[in-house]
């Protein structure tokens, strides 16, 4: 009988699995960013350059983490966390748009593309892979009843963590750049998570 010696149910299970997984993912992506791409000059840490990205990615990671935790819990409502995720992305888009419009017209293209628009999204994706594996592991041990959606949310979470790591070695200064290319990299990781999720997240 299942009830025998069952003991009390474990508490805060999602947080217990997701938090260490994301801590490990963050360490891995930060370490990989420094080793592969090198750290940005120390002087930049006195400017908003890395901090814009970190605040954006951390906010998105928190929202996506909440969303994943809800998706890992059968029958729980996901309306609020999903709205918050969308709100964070839209807020960054709005900030990016304002800063982009405040640039003089002849510098707008440069502000949008920076030096590394082509390499930024794939770099975020690659740096997110350890976090993605950890996030999928964490969610797999919970109870996601919508595997593809849960995989997508786990991918957004992992992508945000990877973006925090990448912000250690990305010298781009424009908010528009962050709003477009970081978001793209994070969404790419989300798509990878969705593809993997429908296969891996079975229980």
């Amino acid at each position: 009988m299942l009830a025998r010696n069952a003991g009390p149910a474990p508490r805060a299970l999602a947080a217990k699995r997701l938090c260490p997984a994301m801590a490990a993912g963050l360490l891995a992506s930060g370490w990989a960013a420094i080793v592969w791409f090198g750290l940005i000059p120390w002087s930049l840490f006195g400017t908003p350059v890395p901090w814009t990205k970190m605040v954006y990615a951390s906010a998105l990671a928190a929202a996506a983490g909440w969303w994943v935790a809800r998706l890992s819990r059968p029958a729980a409502s996901v309306v609020h966390p999903r709205s918050v995720v969308i709100a964070v992305v839209l807020a960054m888009a709005a900030i990016g748009l304002v800063s982009w419009l405040s640039e003089p017209a002849d510098r707008r293209l440069a502000a949008l593309l920076g030096h590394s628009w082509l390499s930024c999204p794939p770099s975020v994706l690659v740096l997110s892979l350890p976090a993605l594996a950890a996030a999928l592991w964490a969610v797999q041990g919970l109870a996601p009843t919508r595997p593809r959606m849960a995989g997508f949310a786990a991918g957004l979470l992992a992508g945000s963590v990877g973006a925090i790591g990448y912000s250690l070695s990305c010298p781009e200064a424009s908010a528009a750049f962050v709003a477009v290319w970081y978001s793209l990299g994070i969404v790419l990781t989300g798509v990878a998570g969705a593809i993997l999720g429908s296969r891996v997240l079975r229980w």
Binding site: M1, L2, A3, R4, N5, A6, G7, P8, A9, P10, R11, L13, A14, S72, R73, P74, A75, A76, L142, A143, T145, R202, W203
Partner: protein, 198 residues
């Protein structure tokens, strides 16, 4: 949620018990699992009408998942909605698995199904038939059982019953007529309403 029309009753009975079970009360937990098993069996049986053999397996699988995943239950959720979400997940998983397997083994499965078809045990219909047959005279009942239920030919039935072929034919004809009359009457005066819901 898609349990039953009276799932509100289930929920109000289940929730306090479940909360006690979550904090480690074994007796309450056992009661909860019992209640949930009954409801889940009904829920899954309605959805697995084509494959009744899978129902019990899936009930057990769902209960096991409920047990393993009870850490994902949150007091803000409805226990029955949470349980149904898990049962539905297991149901979808089963369909996906079967679908894939059936695709892979198309030809073999067709053969298997013809050779080893599992007769669904329709206890209700058998019982009704037995009750109806009791309302017939012995000769008519025997003739119907031999020809219609055991599937013998009229000649074989005549041999078994020790009667002539035409006698068998007459008894079958009269018996069926009488059965039809019995069914019509029982339909109108509800002689069978005590039948258990299946």
């Amino acid at each position: 949620m898609p349990f039953d029309a009276n799932s509100g009753d289930l929920e109000s009975a289940l929730k306090p018990l479940w909360l006690r079970a979550q904090s480690g009360d074994e007796v309450a937990y056992r009661q909860c699992l019992g209640m949930l098993a009954t409801r889940l069996r009904g829920y899954l049986r309605r959805r697995l009408a084509g494959v009744p053999d899978e129902v019990e397996d899936l009930v057990q699988e769902t209960l096991l998942a409920l047990h393993l995943q009870r850490g994902t239950y949150d007091p803000s959720l409805s226990v029955s909605a949470w349980a149904v979400a898990i049962a539905r997940h297991k149901l979808v998983d089963l369909w996906r698995r079967r679908g894939r397997r059936d695709d892979l083994h198309d030809a073999l499965d067709d053969v298997d199904e013809q050779l080893l078809v599992a007769e669904p045990d329709d206890g209700g219909a058998k019982r009704d038939l037995a009750v109806l047959l009791k309302g017939l005279p012995e000769a008519q009942r025997q003739a119907i059982v031999l020809t219609k239920l055991e599937g013998l030919s009229v000649a074989e039935a005549a041999l078994r019953a020790g009667a002539s072929e035409s006698a068998i034919k007459v008894q079958v004809h009269r018996g069926l007529k009488r059965l039809a009359a019995l069914v019509r009457r029982s339909g109108s005066d509800d002689a069978f309403v005590d039948r258990q819901p299946t």
